[in-house]
Symmetry: C2
Subunit: 219 residues, 2 copies
């Protein structure tokens, strides 16, 4: 007889639609999810509010972890660094060194504390280009490190279910899973409406278009 | 001709004598050191004050990084968890899951931001027993993960120069390097004087005795 005790998972939630889809995917797989939201000095707090609203909509408990980064250098943390308006080759101005490594390390600490079986992260194919800690080989070696560096890490799976999906595929999947896209926020800027010109807005708009759906934020 | 530009290193500084020795060791090796101190909700702030004092004494700049851990469960973070009075087998009550993983991840982010060549951590042999993220194989796999997960991680060495040393050897080395042991703090409790009964006090006292030196804190 299969145990009826639900498996627990820690889900990294950013307020964007990818991590929201990862959350609803984890729920659909039968995990009891605990959301982990970071308040790490983002230029605008809209991401955090969105993440909280998504967690509430999913009826999953959430924790907000505050980090006071003493150094800057990324457009996401520093008003002096300009957010690129166009897709450019090279290191994006929004790159925060080791950000996913830091986020996953906290998720690992949380997962070990609450004896969770898995960590979900919404990283996906489009992220690879700019962020080395979004690549499949990174998640593999992180899991290896987690196994060696903790007591329970070998039992905790690092799951990035969107890794091989394009934005349009994620949006289609999220639509099927009932993700409240109206609560999500992707724009790197924190104005009332998405700016429509940053990388993140560009990919979101393209994704909705390719998925044949309307973005509730820009309707 | 050898370049005269000093190499930069990030040094994790806790306020204890191990990390202080690692700092002075890195300095002796010609590194320009940037100290990284964590304020992560320790039960007492004495560790942080000690770390700051050691950084100042060494004339190295330091950064204090604040982390608001929303979960507890370790005696170092939670007053409800008792600090073990005796050396016991098994997981120590002071274990914070993935603590070194988290600290090294931040050090990595900082090192990549300032283009440092190395990260120094004062982990040593006596730590192995209790903490999986203090073992040599952990540092090896962390370095591998850093290489895959960042742009510059492959150029950043993770150095744990005390890894094969016992406490007495660390104290002898620190003595030779001029470490201000009087500024360091090892006790898990934050009273005016070391409690003398926690694991950390026990090992410190034993170390000084075996090194044939007097501990300036208990003189």
């Amino acid at each position: 007889m299969k145990s009826k005790i639900a498996k627990t998972a820690v889900v990294l939630l950013s307020g964007g639609l990818d991590s929201a889809t990862a959350l609803y995917f984890a729920k659909a797989k039968g995990y009891q999810c605990r959301c982990l939201i970071f308040d790490y000095g983002q230029l605008h707090k809209k991401e955090i509010t969105s993440a909280v609203n998504i967690a509430k909509a999913s009826r999953c408990p959430y924790e907000i972890l505050k980090i006071g980064f003493p150094w800057r250098g990324s457009a996401l943390l520093d008003k002096k660094v300009k957010i690129s308006k166009k897709i450019k080759p090279g290191i994006p101005s929004t790159y925060v060194p080791a950000r996913n490594i830091i986020f996953l390390s906290f998720a690992l600490s949380f997962a070990e504390t609450i004896k969770a079986k898995a960590i979900f992260i919404g990283a996906h194919a489009q992220d690879y280009s700019g962020y080395p800690d979004c690549r499949p080989e990174f998640f593999q070696v992180f899991a290896e490190m987690a196994k060696v560096g903790t007591y329970g890490g070998g039992r905790i799976k690092i799951l990035a279910p969107l890794l091989n999906k394009k934005k349009a595929q994620i949006i289609s999947l999220g639509q099927r899973l009932g993700v409240p896209f109206n609560l999500s926020w992707s724009c790197y800027r924190g104005a009332k409406l998405p700016c429509g010109i940053c990388d993140s807005c560009y990919y979101r708009a393209k994704g909705f278009k390719e998925a044949g759906l309307a973005d509730p934020l820009t309707k």
